[in-house]
């Protein structure tokens, strides 16, 4: 018996590996990102408009990934300024047609492999935001935008802010969960103007 005991204890040790780090968020290094990107290249394939180039990380994605969406303030500010300067703001009024904007906000289509390339995309806005009081099935990942223009007015500065935020949300908050709808070529200039109208036009249901 004396001889068997230590053996049994050893066997127990071998079979009980340390528990997995369940529920803990790992800190991802640049090397981890490269490893994951290599796995995605190996294990994914292009389909329709979803090409393989989409697995390549850009500067924003890299910085947000290695800092779990909480990058050092200085680095974030510098990159935000660079992105802001790259937004191609159209000249003149940025307010389009809120009725067209409402349709764009409702549609969750666009940029998926199941979407026809070239067909007008939507902004998926209601998936995450409350907008018109008529739509009660809104998501809550983003803040409520009810009364957005009523509260802020529709000055040229506000138009520019709304347009820029939709074109590239990351220029205002680097690791925002909001997609870069203009930068990613999901929405066109006119579509973004229509969404700006949905937010700012006093006649828009958002501001009723």
């Amino acid at each position: 018996m004396k001889r068997i005991l230590p053996l049994a204890a050893a066997a127990l040790l071998v079979s009980c590996a340390a528990p997995l780090p369940v529920g803990e968020r790992p800190k991802l290094s640049e090397r981890d990102l490269d490893e994951v990107t290599a796995v995605l290249k190996r294990d994914f394939h292009e389909r329709g408009q979803a090409k393989m180039e989409r697995v390549e990380l850009d500067e924003v994605q890299r910085l947000c990934n290695v800092h779990a969406d909480n990058p050092p303030a200085e680095q974030a500010r510098a990159l935000e300024a660079k992105l802001l300067a790259a937004i191609p703001f159209p000249s003149g009024s940025l307010i389009g047609d809120w009725k067209a904007g409402e349709k764009i906000a409702q549609s969750g289509r666009g940029a998926m492999w199941s979407d026809k390339p070239g067909e007008a995309a939507g902004g998926s806005c209601y998936n995450c935001h409350e907008l018109s009081p008529k739509t009660t099935s809104f998501g809550t990942i983003g803040p409520s935008l009810r009364g957005f223009g009523k509260l802020r007015g529709s000055t040229p500065e506000m138009q520019r802010y709304a347009y820029g935020k939709i074109w590239n949300a990351k220029a205002y908050n680097l690791c925002s969960q909001m997609p870069r709808l203009g930068h990613s070529k999901t929405l066109t200039e006119q579509q973004i103007k229509d969404l700006v109208a949905l937010l700012l036009d006093p006649a828009s249901p958002v501001n009723q």
Partner: protein, 260 residues
């Protein structure tokens, strides 16, 4: 049949009195779920001789020994020495189609995701296999070095933002009490949220009358994440599945489930 339907409604209302509206809805969808039909069809396919060798899948080893179905699904994903890799239920079934029945991988994986009019062989079989784990505690493989590597990779994938819209799994499943439209979103790196989810896949979705596998779930998440398409049964999908299942381990398996 009108009287019949009324009777059914009365029978349901009785014990449901003290439940929340949501639980009531869940119970009613479960009572009306045709998921057993998928299990029946799956059983017929499991026993049907097929492929160049004209044999059934009855000798398929899902991790508990050849032909043992009881509790097998609840112990997946896990490492399989004969394939020297971690596999989930769907990947293992595919492996058996090739190794036992002599089918080519291309032929066996021609149609892995079906539709309402014509569900796939894989969907039927997965429902049948999973049905033999009802009530069994979920214990995916977490000790073999390849299982541990898969968990670590799955975890990295879970938090990895990429693609045209900069999404990771946490974009939807990373914060408490959030919704997309009216769908409540579980925070899948929290064990208490992951448990009821991993315990109910595969699942029949009443909104489109289809039985869906976990491989499909991961595939469709990546579609909505605006990413390219993951290969069925690839290391990445299994790593993610193992990460989710290990996070929810310990739950009593309660599927095939019924979902919205």
């Amino acid at each position: 049949m009108r009287a019949v339907a009324l009777l059914a409604a009365v029978a349901l209302a009785g014990p449901a009195a003290a439940q929340s509206q949501f639980e009531k809805y869940q119970q009613m969808t479960a009572e009306g779920s045709p998921v057993e039909l998928f299990e029946m069809e799956g059983e017929a396919l499991w026993r049907k001789p097929q492929g160049p060798r004209n044999v059934s899948l009855e000798k398929c080893d899902l991790g508990k020994g050849p032909g043992v179905l009881q509790g097998a699904y609840a112990a997946l994903p896990r490492y399989f020495a004969d394939a020297d890799r971690v596999m989930d239920a769907e990947t293992r079934i595919l492996h058996c189609m090739v190794a036992l029945q002599g089918r080519s991988l291309a032929e066996a994986s021609k149609r892995l995701f079906g539709n309402a009019d014509n569900p796939s062989e894989m969907e039927y079989l997965t429902a049948y296999v999973a049905g033999h784990s009802r009530g069994v505690r979920m214990t995916p493989g977490t000790e073999h070095p390849k299982e541990r590597a898969a968990f670590a990779l799955g975890q990295k994938l879970f938090y990895h933002r990429a693609g045209a819209w900069d999404f990771s799994c946490t974009s939807c499943h990373g914060q408490e009490n959030k919704r997309i439209r009216m769908s409540e979103l579980p925070v899948l790196d929290r064990p208490e949220d992951a448990r009821p989810i991993v315990a109910t896949w595969p699942a029949y979705r009443v909104s489109n009358s289809q039985l869906k596998t976990m491989q499909w779930r991961i595939n469709d998440c990546y579609r909505q994440m605006r990413m390219p398409e993951p290969n069925f049964g690839s290391e990445a999908t299994i790593a993610l599945n193992l990460f989710l299942t290990a996070t929810g381990q310990g739950a009593a398996y309660n599927g095939p489930g019924t979902k919205r």
